[in-house]
Symmetry: none
Subunit: 342 residues, 2 copies
DNA sequence: CTAAGCGGGACATAATACGTCTCAGTTAGG
DNA sequence: CCTAACTGAGACGTATTATGTCCCGCTTAG
């Protein structure tokens, strides 16, 4: 027996299209509210008039409200949108995609949000929302959560919301300075996340370039040593995955590091480690904090990365065999499946 | 979490209307195929042009085909329609109605088809289809199925289809001549059903008016006696329910019988028995065949009756306490609930 | 042989959707 | 304090679609 949705797909395909359109409007509005018609129409790449018809309808349905500052979802709209998410994933076949990816990559869970973060930047925020959603499914009281840097993780931080069962949760950066820009540093993101979640955080300040002696004396420093112990015991890790070359360049690595990365055919990067196509570590940024081995003791590892351009990197990283939940987007998911199964 | 349908009702309020319209078109087409646009539009009480739009759409979806003889459902259309049935019942609240009726009438199962056979005659065929559907859920090989007469049962016969697990099944008329017209006699219907099911049948020829002596000698006749035994052992009974007065008149009963029926306030009739409002037998047509007591030994009794005008009769009959599956229509179901629960 | 029923084509009209522009009010940033 | 950018709302002509109402050539049952 087919599902109701698949019956409807045959009997009312045009209706499902409309449904999708309205869903997209609501979803985009949630991301940008409060916002006006013209800007929203622009984001959705539809004309103002079309959006206007939809918006008028949705307003009449009590799902959104107009005000002089722009439109915003009502309580009911938020609720509906939340309930709609799994349905629309099934409609657009993302459900199916998730299953196939889980199989192909041999990992416990995959979550895909619609869109491609290469083309449309706000998809990162949707991934962030999804990642936060997954996180919330776990027991979080008095837990240590280690996070990395990167624009994707910044998206996760944006979408963090406080909740009662995050009492006593502590956010820490996974590893010390990796040479990122301030807004994408693990420290910054860690602090932002904790602030949004209304919980505590600890920061790890490590200068970028450090002599061996200074390094040794630093990790013996009481405050640092304590924190390092906490970080290494983190039960939950949320991290991004990057392309090796891009990351090396963004971090202004020295020429010989870039050369090494190139010669060893590194394709992926995650929390300071560089991996080749087979998932083998080919380079490691020397800094203190969480090490690859520590991941095996973590109960929950969430990897967040999207955009078709990152497909190869995601694939390579997951070949390490780390049992990680993957939160990605449609663009990356499709590219991954084309690369692996074909 | 709300159901998909209630989410859709918020997001596409007119969807259910469209869905219902297309469903009705398919359902009516199944009943009347092959048929042309104009006749079909007439049956559905919509204009030709509107039907035409729907039909064109459904054709494009591969659910029906056009030919010079008229339109007909494709394999896929049949399949979809079948799967759609429970969904639409839920949508139109018939699901709910069934539950309430089951409770109110204290019987094991109730099936309701949309419509009212008082207004639209083809609803009888839908009841027929439903009854056949219920029947098929039972183990039928080498079983004896007793059937009665009446226009409703004629509808059941129309919808009978052969199936592999009806091998060795034997159809018999429940009771001898009750004075009906030929096309509505139990014998005729019995034969038709068996022919449609590709199985065997036996007929019971009993003259309408019979002296006591002739009656006695008839039931001693070897062929008749054998058959009577078979009939009385029937494990499955399918019968209609009629209004007492209407039935008495249609059968051209004698005046004193009609008087008796009237004086005893008979309201319902089933296989030759007349019942008052409390479900008590007030008159019985004298003929051979299945008796009321025999019903208690049957494993499956299916009563088929619809139309709001028959509500009182159905209610009265079911008060006998016979554990019967009821197949009825929306009109009768609503009238029943108004009569009993209010 | 004929009358009824079939699908398909056609067309004017009504209803709806859409693109485009205007306007007055609000607000954020200089 | 001012202005530039943004807000919702209104308006209006034009496509596009939906609908009612024909007609035509064909097949088929009676």
């Amino acid at each position: 027996m087919r599902s109701l949705l698949s019956l409807q797909q045959k009997l009312l395909p045009d209706m499902l299209e409309v449904m999708n359109k309205r869903y997209r409007v609501l979803r985009q509005l949630r991301l940008m509210q409060p916002i006006g018609r013209r800007s929203l129409a622009n984001s959705l790449d539809i004309t103002e008039r079309v959006l206007r018809s939809e918006v008028t309808f949705l307003k009449d349905q009590g799902l959104l409200e107009m005000s002089i500052q722009g439109m915003h979802l009502t309580e009911e709209g938020e609720q509906l949108l939340m309930e709609l998410e799994p349905v629309m994933n099934e409609v657009s076949g993302l459900d199916n995609l998730e299953e196939r990816l889980k199989e192909a990559l041999n990992i416990p869970e995959v979550f895909i949000v619609p869109g491609d973060s290469d083309d449309t930047p706000w998809v990162k925020k949707e991934m962030g929302r999804a990642a936060v959603g997954r996180l919330k499914k776990f027991q979080l009281t008095r837990r240590v959560i280690a996070v990395t840097g990167g624009t994707t993780l910044a998206g996760v931080a944006d979408m963090m919301i406080p909740s009662s069962d995050m009492e006593g949760t502590l956010f820490v950066p996974a590893r010390g300075g990796l040479g990122e820009q301030v807004e994408n540093q693990a420290n910054t993101i860690c602090a932002k996340m904790a602030r949004k979640a209304h919980t505590d955080y600890r920061l790890l300040h490590v200068p970028d370039q450090l002599s061996e002696e200074a390094y040794q004396s630093l990790i013996e420093e009481p405050g640092v040593k304590d924190l390092l112990g906490i970080i290494k015991s983190a039960g939950i890790v949320i991290h991004g995955i990057g392309e090796a070359k891009t990351m090396a360049q963004r971090r202004k690595s020295t020429l010989d590091v870039i050369d090494k990365i190139e010669q060893e055919h590194a394709v992926a990067e995650a929390f300071g480690y560089y991996f080749n196509q087979s998932g083998e570590v080919v380079h490691k940024v020397k800094t203190i904090g969480l090490q690859l081995e520590d991941l095996e003791r973590s109960e929950l590892v969430i990897a967040v990365a999207g955009g078709r351009s990152k497909a190869k990197a995601i694939e390579a990283y997951l070949k390490t065999g780390i049992q990680s939940i993957l939160v990605t987007d449609e663009g990356a998911a499709k590219a991954l499946l084309e690369g692996t199964s074909l």
